[in-house]
């Protein structure tokens, strides 16, 4: 049937194929104008910063300063540890929230309500000053100390950031778990798999596809939020940058330096997120998207094949 119509249509079209249309394109003058205005504004902002009383040379001078590098390391450490607490806590809270036990689900609800509803800076100060409530920490024979010497800046920062993060991660994980079709649980149960195995082997791997993108967002957010812990005496990138700024007489320059470091780290994290997402996409799309590296190689391949053709 289709073959017949093709045959019938074939003689009418010339052998060289249909003639390409050559027409005068519409000129979008508005576009030119807005582009010029935008570039002009950008240039004036850059010029203003260049003209300001900012000693730009201080930035490269201190960019790889030992203190800055230590600060970068501590910021990364704090981000990773806080996110680990946040993710583990979030999964536990999400499972509690979805459990049939009304007590555990209410507790999880209350936790999320409280930690999501108060600013993280306030939480950090509360953790730091809990010595007013607990004078000592006494874990029987294992550990006993004054609260003030137990609650180091690092522990304060970790608890403050991690527990707050757990509340957000709980909602993200819950959304992920709910996104998995109920038929998956049924099929797994019908095969004789236990609740725990079903969750671990079947539901969570599928939930990850939904959980990873917002979690990447959370990691990047967390990296930036760590700058708040300077308030509870923890030394990280922002705090070190401030200190250098006060001693070297270039305080504002050091803020730019810190901003540059934060940008570098968040950029690297975004690349990492791309690959994690790609990993969990297996099975959900028929063909995985190519990695940037694969795309580059494919282009190189097409260039070389073109050369061969010429």
């Amino acid at each position: 049937m289709t073959a017949d119509t093709e045959k019938a249509a074939a003689p009418e079209t010339p052998a060289a194929g249909p003639q390409a249309i050559k027409a005068v394109p519409v000129r979008h003058y508005g576009r030119y104008l807005t582009a010029v205005i935008a570039i002009g504004l950008l240039a004036s902002i850059v010029y203003a910063f260049g003209q300001g009383k900012i000693n730009w040379h201080a930035v490269p001078d201190y960019f790889f300063d030992d203190r800055i590098l230590t600060g970068v390391g501590k910021t990364l450490l704090l981000t990773v540890l806080s996110m680990v607490i946040g993710i583990v806590g979030g999964i536990v809270l999400a499972v509690m929230r979805l459990s049939k036990n009304p007590v555990t689900s209410s507790i999880a609800w209350f936790y999320i309500w409280f930690f999501r509803g108060t600013p993280v800076l306030v939480q950090l100060f509360v953790w730091f000053n809990l010595g007013l409530v607990f004078q000592y920490i006494n874990l029987g024979p294992i550990y006993k100390d004054y609260w003030s010497s137990f609650m180091t800046p690092l522990l304060t920062a970790l608890l403050g950031l991690g527990l707050n993060e757990a509340a957000y991660m709980a909602e993200i994980c819950r959304a992920g778990l709910l996104a998995v079709d109920e038929g998956q649980t049924e099929a797994s149960h019908a095969l004789g798999m236990s609740h725990a195995k079903t969750l671990r082997r079947i539901v969570i791997p599928q939930a990850m596809r939904v959980i990873v993108p917002p979690t990447g967002n959370e990691v990047i957010n967390m990296l930036k939020t760590t700058s708040l812990v300077a308030a509870v005496q923890f030394q990280e990138l922002f705090r070190y940058a401030q200190d250098i700024g006060q001693n070297s007489g270039a305080p504002v320059e050091m803020y730019f330096l810190a901003a540059a470091w934060y940008l570098i780290m968040t950029s690297i994290l975004s690349v990492g997120q791309y690959y994690v997402e790609r990993y969990y996409a297996r099975g959900s799309s028929r063909q995985l998207p190519a990695t940037p590296w694969q795309k580059v190689r494919a282009h190189l391949g097409s260039f070389s094949s073109r050369k061969v053709a010429v």
């Binding site: 079709d181 038929g183 998956q184 049924e186 099929a187 797994s188 149960h189 019908a190 095969l191 004789g192 798999m193 236990s194 609740h195 195995k197 082997r201 079947i202 791997p205 599928q206 969990y280 297996r282 099975g283 959900s284 799309s285 028929r286």
Partner: protein, 269 residues
């Protein structure tokens, strides 16, 4: 296809007089809606038992009660002589623990209307998952068995494909292989061909026919009257949560006694 689908299963000597499934006055309600209103039936070991009826008649619900995916509200349901979901001591019933229910489900394979393959695992991994995770079979052994089973359902070359890369008919055949990997003594089919393109139905029915010939006990909820007539040993017509008519498929389908059955069959045949 001389080798049987059920493979090298060591069949435990069982009393052939004990029915594989026995249902006595089974009731099931979802809230105020009484979906099953007293189901009495018996599935003999080795037979292909077909359940037909209009949608909403409770046939799928009844099937799901057999492996305790749904809890029954009244009556008694036995699989291979053992109560489903409960333990009886004296005249008192004790609910089974989740782990005990899981243990019983190992022996009952189930095939769903919407396949429910695990999308993050390849076809072979889908088949291997339960033997490895539930029975503790070694991965190498499970892979070998998965290869055999996929070959039997005609999908040896698709072992490494993810479900999204397979057609509906291929997915359903993988789902059958997945259920068979647990060496079940009973297979439940919940409208296995209803979500398939008409072209693909045949492949799945062929696999089921083959399975029936191997002597597997099968309870099949279906709209495929041709399959029921050819392969079925018993047939039950359900409507409104009760069994309206039952008997040999050929008799019920060609010479229905009940008005309701006649009306239903005149529409589907």
């Amino acid at each position: 296809m001389t080798e049987k689908l059920s493979g090298a299963r060591a069949v435990a000597p069982r009393d052939p007089s004990v029915p594989m499934v026995k249902s006595e006055g089974v009731h099931k309600s979802f809230g105020p809606v009484e979906v099953l209103q007293g189901i009495d039936l018996e599935v003999k070991a080795g037979e292909v038992f077909c359940l037909i009826g209009p949608s909403g008649s409770g046939k799928s619900t009844f099937l799901r009660c057999i492996n305790h995916l749904e809890k029954i509200n009244a009556g008694r349901l036995y699989v291979d002589g053992e109560l489903v979901g409960y333990r009886q001591k004296g005249d008192r019933l004790y609910e089974l623990k989740d782990s005990e229910v899981a243990l019983k489900r190992r022996d009952i394979g189930m095939v769903f209307q919407r396949f429910n393959l695990f999308p993050h695992l390849t076809a072979a991994e889908n088949v291997m998952e339960a033997p490895v995770q539930v029975k503790g079979v070694s991965k190498a052994q499970a892979r070998e068995r998965a290869t055999q089973l996929l070959e039997r359902v005609g999908l040896a070359d698709k072992a490494g494909n993810y479900p999204s890369q397979l057609s509906g008919g291929q997915q359903q055949r993988v789902a059958i292989a997945r259920a068979l990997a647990m060496d079940p003594k009973l297979m439940l089919f919940d409208e296995p061909t209803s979500a398939l393109d008409p072209e693909l139905v045949g492949d799945v029915l062929d696999v089921m026919r083959d399975l029936a010939e191997s002597g597997m006990t099968m309870v099949v909820v279906t709209h495929e009257m041709g399959f029921a007539r050819e392969v079925g040993d018993s047939l039950v017509f359900m409507d409104g949560g009760v069994v309206v008519e039952s008997g040999h498929p050929r008799e019920v389908l060609t010479d229905p006694q009940h008005e309701r059955t006649k009306a239903f069959l005149s529409k589907v045949l």
